[in-house]
């Protein structure tokens, strides 16, 4: 049934339909509406047979989830940003223990300086922890991916993060088809763990593994994520059969068949880029978009294949590896290793900086003219940056960057000028 609904509420309803047994959460913007929605549905009885646990930190949220999942309960939690980093140790642990926990990330920047708006720094920081990371493009896909995530997690015995852009998706009202319970039940069977904590069959879980076996254990964890490369499309297909909708999968292509330039991106940004692609194509430019849904596992072969016709690739990402450059761009470069494809790294939207069609169009034009330095920082205020770098050269300044700018240059941003 279609509903005009906030992204977070759509996700909460999708979670409810998955018959979760334990939900634990700690509030952080922009995740809050999701878990508030879950809490409400448990109180009203819309979610039956489920424990909602208000924990004292994100570290505890995921730790409670580890306990309940290991004891055989279908478990869900959600976080973002500082919260994800606060639970980092447990993030690795949940994956190492092979627990099929599903966790929403309302993608948000990481401080300092503290910032509540969207970029992908948070989930990127934990990309190698052994979790499957799926990115939603729309709120429909966000809702659908959660339903798929439980199936995927439980089939592979691996945890899944469903990433959705903070505010842009979590707080946006859109028309979303909310499935009915019978459909979800047909798609998602009850969780049947292979091994749980059970007095009838006592197992030791989480033993200390030394050098003699650790490599094998790690390799198998890696292999499990590689298996997901085929399981994700299978589940996408199964989902389509039940719900009649295309959602999820490894990535979506848009007008890539004949494209000479392809933008590779993730998350809600794809919508803006697609609109622009349509516009630019009217002027004859052959451009397309690939939106990655599965960032981990990373579909190296699939992407290599999909990009074979592209002379230029623009990796448009909301993350920055300080002291290195683009994060997604590095992965795309690995996928295109040995080809002479021209790859541009474009870093955009950090800390919620709006990514406008105007700026993107300007950037596309520069790519067409081969006039873009790599990496390119979309809409970076070079004047402020240069003046602050010069200041730093002339004196030894220790201290927080944001406050240094204030002291030495004054406030930045449109209001300041």
């Amino acid at each position: 049934m279609f509903e005009q609904i906030e992204g977070s509420q759509a996700v909460a309803k999708a979670i409810a339909l998955c018959r979760p047994e334990v939900i634990c959460a700690y509030p952080i913007t922009p995740q809050t509406h999701i878990v508030e929605g879950c809490a409400e549905m448990i109180r009203t009885g819309a979610i039956q047979n489920c424990e909602f646990i208000n924990v004292e930190s994100e570290f505890a949220a995921l730790s409670v989830a580890i306990g309940s999942s290991a004891a055989g309960a279908r478990t869900y939690t959600a976080t973002a940003s500082q919260g994800l980093l606060f639970m980092a140790e447990a993030v690795y642990n949940a994956a190492g223990l092979g627990l099929p926990i599903v966790m929403t990330i309302g993608n948000r920047a990481i401080g300092a300086p503290i910032n509540i708006w969207n970029d992908h720094s948070d989930s990127m920081a934990l990309r190698d922890a052994g979790w499957i990371q799926l990115h939603a493009e729309t709120n429909q896909e966000a809702a659908d991916l959660h339903i798929q995530a439980f199936k995927l997690a439980e089939r592979l015995s691996a945890p899944v993060m469903v990433c959705m852009d903070g505010f842009i998706l979590t707080h946006a009202y859109e028309r979303v088809a909310i499935p009915d319970q019978a459909q979800v039940d047909a798609f998602l069977p009850p969780y049947q763990p292979r091994q749980i904590l059970d007095p009838a069959d006592p197992y030791t879980i989480g033993a200390m593994v030394g050098p003699e076996a650790f490599m094998e254990v790690r390799y198998l964890a890696h292999d499990k994520l590689l298996q997901a490369l085929s399981v994700i499309p299978e589940i996408q297909q199964e989902f389509k059969e039940v719900f009649g909708r295309e959602s999820g999968g490894l990535f979506h292509g848009y007008r890539v068949e004949d494209a000479e330039t392809v933008v590779v991106t993730m998350g809600s940004l794809a919508g803006t880029v697609k609109d622009l692609v349509d516009e630019v194509r009217e002027n004859g430019a052959k451009i397309g978009v690939i939106t990655l849904c599965s960032y981990r596992p990373f579909p190296l072969d699939g992407l290599r294949h999909a990009l074979q016709g592209a002379a230029k690739v623009i990796v448009l990402e909301k993350s920055l590896a300080l002291g290195f450059g683009g994060v997604l761009a590095a992965d795309v470069r690995t996928a295109l290793h040995g080809r002479d494809t021209h790859i541009h790294t474009v870093i955009a939207g950090l800390g919620g900086r709006p990514i406008t069609r105007k700026s993107l169009a300007r950037m596309f034009a520069r790519v067409e003219r081969d006039d873009l330095k790599d990496p390119h920082f979309l809409d970076l205020d070079l004047d402020i940056v240069r003046r602050e770098i010069d200041n730093q050269r002339s004196q030894i300044t220790a201290g927080p960057i944001a406050e240094n700018i204030l002291r030495e240059i004054g406030p930045c941003g449109p209001k300041a000028v």
Partner: protein, 339 residues
């Protein structure tokens, strides 16, 4: 206790140990450890040091919990000596379902297990979380306090050997003043751990108003088992803090583990008491009070106290012991002989 008094008219002390010997009590009242049917929750073959108080304490506690739950028990373990010495992959000493996740999250993992048991309608299965003093009083304190505050149905047991042993004997917030550890060396004007620091977790647990808090010692098996059995019979958050000497970290003889644990309580430094909903409901009176020196002397971590200038520091420790004795009224006439 009252039915015990009725049955137990005779006070019998064994020479030397001052505890009632198993063979002197009737079958039904003998310790779980004395029973052929004990579960051996931690079975032999683990890698603990000789005389490890923690290995003993954990077996005592879990065997008692296993009997009290008729085997319906799940254990969660924090990182630390107990976890490391019991689970050298591919072997395990645990004969109960057992999970280790991280150093600082045992209480939260246990909350999760308990939630799963509730939602699965298996509430007869009881959950025990366990950790060392570091995993409990320091890094795991946030999760522990959260578990207490929510009154989650978990029995948390802390095995207190007064330092981070697994990483090579560093100071924790349970390390007593003057104790030498690798990070509080016995040098300088204030050798060993400093005075005026540390936290008393049993009292902090009581401040959460949880249904049950107790301290116990490996030197008093009957009391320890009774407290575990009592705790297991209660629903909600429960906390037992067990004193477990560590021969390696304390520099004591491995055959002295029980003796040192007994001296800790007899001098007053480690009072044995229990509390319900934040109120002290009982304590074990000291039968033969000893000066703190007697407890300190057999341990190398306190050796510097017996050199020049140690007298004042010993006197300060004695004052701490005396304060405990007063607070818990430990020198009152023993009304009955607690087993």
């Amino acid at each position: 206790m009252s039915d015990m008094t009725a049955e137990q008219k005779v006070k019998f002390y064994q020479k030397g140990t001052f505890t009632a010997g198993n063979r002197l009590v009737d079958q039904a009242r003998r310790s779980v450890q004395a029973s052929m049917e004990r579960s051996n929750a931690i079975t032999s073959g683990h890698r603990a040091c000789q005389g490890c108080g923690e290995a003993l304490g954990a077996r005592y506690a879990l065997d008692a919990a296993m009997r009290a739950t008729e085997g319906q028990l799940i254990a969660v373990n924090a990182t630390g000596c107990l976890e490391v010495f019991t689970t050298p992959y591919p072997e395990t000493s645990w004969q109960v379902p057992w999970i280790h996740s991280l150093f600082g999250n045992a209480a939260a993992v246990a909350s999760g297990v308990a939630a799963a048991m509730r939602v699965k309608g298996r509430e007869q299965v009881r959950v025990v979380a366990q950790g060392g003093d570091g995993g409990t009083t320091d890094i795991g304190f946030g999760c522990l306090s959260g578990m207490f505050e929510r009154n989650d149905d978990v029995l948390y047991i802390c095995y207190d050997n007064e330092a981070y042993m697994n990483t090579g004997v560093q100071r924790s917030s349970a390390t007593p003043p003057t104790a030498r550890t690798a990070t509080t060396p016995a040098v300088g004007p204030e050798p060993g751990n400093v005075f005026g620091t540390g936290k008393n977790l049993p009292l902090i647990a009581m401040a959460h108003n949880i249904p049950y808090v107790a301290t116990a010692s490996v030197a008093n098996l009957h009391d320890l088992e009774r407290k575990v059995e009592k705790a297991v019979a209660i629903r909600g958050a429960r906390y037992i803090h067990i004193f477990v000497p560590c021969p390696l970290g304390w520099g004591s003889a491995s055959h002295d583990t029980i003796r040192i644990a007994r001296l800790a309580s007899e001098c007053g430094l480690f009072p044995l008491f229990e509390a319900e909903h934040g109120e002290v409901t009982g304590s074990i009176p000291i039968r033969r009070k000893v000066p703190v020196e007697e407890y300190l002397r057999p341990q190398k971590r306190f050796a510097h106290l017996f050199k020049d200038g140690g007298g004042e520091r010993i006197a300060r420790l004695q004052r701490m012991a005396d304060a405990n004795i007063k607070r818990f009224d430990l020198l009152r006439e023993a009304e009955e002989a607690p087993l």
